[in-house]
């Protein structure tokens, strides 16, 4: 039964351009995104970017109950904190994978912070940014590198 499910999920994943690692505790990594080592993802579209936290991040956080969003118009810098999420009585900083200016924040997260948990790559997006330095994207990981990074981190304990 488990093998059938694994094969079915691999076929679906391949169709959706998702890479799955078949470990006991695997998380979803999307192929067309870039990733920071602090577990945020970014989708680049021209000089605009959408940022959120990864499936690996939300799994390791526990249910998100609060999201602190930045103000529209403020600057963000690669590797610097721009907001926070709260889960299990822990606030965790969210760091920006890229530098630029915040164009939009996901206001749905104020009423429904759990979207970060249930849909980290889609409805749980956090900010949209106008890039100030497209070259910075080179410093981020692609999906294969990020999957490996997550496996190595999880192997530490």
């Amino acid at each position: 039964m488990a093998l059938t499910l694994m094969l079915a999920s691999s076929r679906i994943a391949s169709h959706l351009r998702i890479s799955l690692s078949h470990r006991a505790f695997s998380s979803v990594v999307l192929k067309d995104l870039k990733y920071a080592d602090s577990h945020e993802w970014v989708k680049i579209e021209g000089n605009k970017a959408t940022v959120g936290i990864t499936d690996h991040a939300q799994e390791h956080l526990g249910d998100v109950v609060y999201v602190e969003l930045p103000d529209v118009g403020r600057s963000v810098s690669q590797g610097e904190s721009f907001g926070a999420v709260e889960s299990v009585k822990a606030t965790s900083d969210i760091n920006s994978p890229i530098s630029g200016k915040v164009l939009q924040v996901n206001k749905d997260l104020s009423e429904s912070p759990a979207l970060v948990t249930s849909s980290p790559y889609e409805e749980g997006w956090i900010i949209k940014v106008e890039l100030s330095d497209a070259g910075e994207v080179k410093k981020l990981m692609d999906s294969d590198k990020y999957s490996k990074f997550c496996e190595e981190e999880d192997a530490k304990h």
């Binding site: 009585k89 900083d93 530490k156």
Partner: protein
């Protein structure tokens, strides 16, 4: 074979809340830049109410103007969690540790803090348990004995846990503790018939349970608290 993990422990006695925040800020910065190893602060606070990042001050049931009358301060913080009380005879641990070096996220970290307190309570025959979903902390039945509220930035922790040894539980009447309205707060004194040793001994036991739960190989007990209590940025 992984490299051995060391925990440095500072036992600070009673520390004013704002001062403890300054000390933690400094240690977090030093831990981020690898100047210090994982560090644990063990201390108590004078009577202090604190709020978390969500600023749930509707859970303070008396006007702020009344706080000095009952000998307490109020502080807003960046930690997770709701309103809580800290005071004498409540053991506090503030771990300043790198979660990235052990591959922990918030959930594993908090669960291990809970396990530390449960293990500690069991030394006195008290059967504590972790909270249900949305009730992070440590409970004896429906009575809360240990609270958790942490902050994680760049994978480094601050704030931590508070375990009730024998605090004046009346202070909890002025809040909805942790935002949970219908549950009591309790203490080790209330829950055990065992004779409690000196608090210094109790704190050391709690620290040892923490070190064991987090699999530290070495614990270094720092002897001179004035080294970090006399921080130059002190106001």
């Amino acid at each position: 074979m992984r490299s051995p993990r060391t925990l440095e422990v500072w036992r600070l006695g009673t520390v004013n809340y704002l001062k403890s925040l300054k000390i933690q800020d400094k240690l977090v910065s030093e831990r981020k830049s690898h100047q210090i190893p994982d560090t644990l602060l063990s201390l108590e606070h004078p009577p202090t109410y604190t709020l978390g990042k969500r600023r749930t001050d509707h859970n303070l049931l008396i006007p702020q103007s009344q706080l000095t009358k009952i000998g307490a301060e109020l502080h807003y913080t960046q930690r997770g969690g709701d309103i809580t009380f800290h005071g004498p005879h409540q053991a506090i641990l503030y771990p300043i540790i790198s979660l990235r070096s052990i591959g922990f996220g918030a959930r594993n970290y908090v669960e291990t803090l809970e396990r530390s307190m449960i293990e500690f309570a069991s030394m006195y025959g008290v059967r504590a348990r972790a909270g249900n979903k949305c009730e992070t902390g440590v409970w004896v039945g429906d009575r809360k004995i240990g609270a958790i509220g942490v902050r994680i930035s760049c994978g480094i922790t601050c704030h931590g846990l508070a375990f009730n040894i024998d605090p004046d539980l009346n202070y909890f009447e002025h809040i909805v503790p942790c935002g949970i309205a219908d549950k009591e707060v309790t203490s080790l004194r209330r829950e055990t018939d065992a004779l409690l040793p000196k608090e210094e001994v109790i704190h050391k036991q709690l620290i040892t349970c923490f070190a064991k739960a987090f699999s530290y190989d070495d614990v270094v007990w720092k002897e001179d608290p004035s080294f970090i209590l006399d921080t130059k940025d002190d106001g």
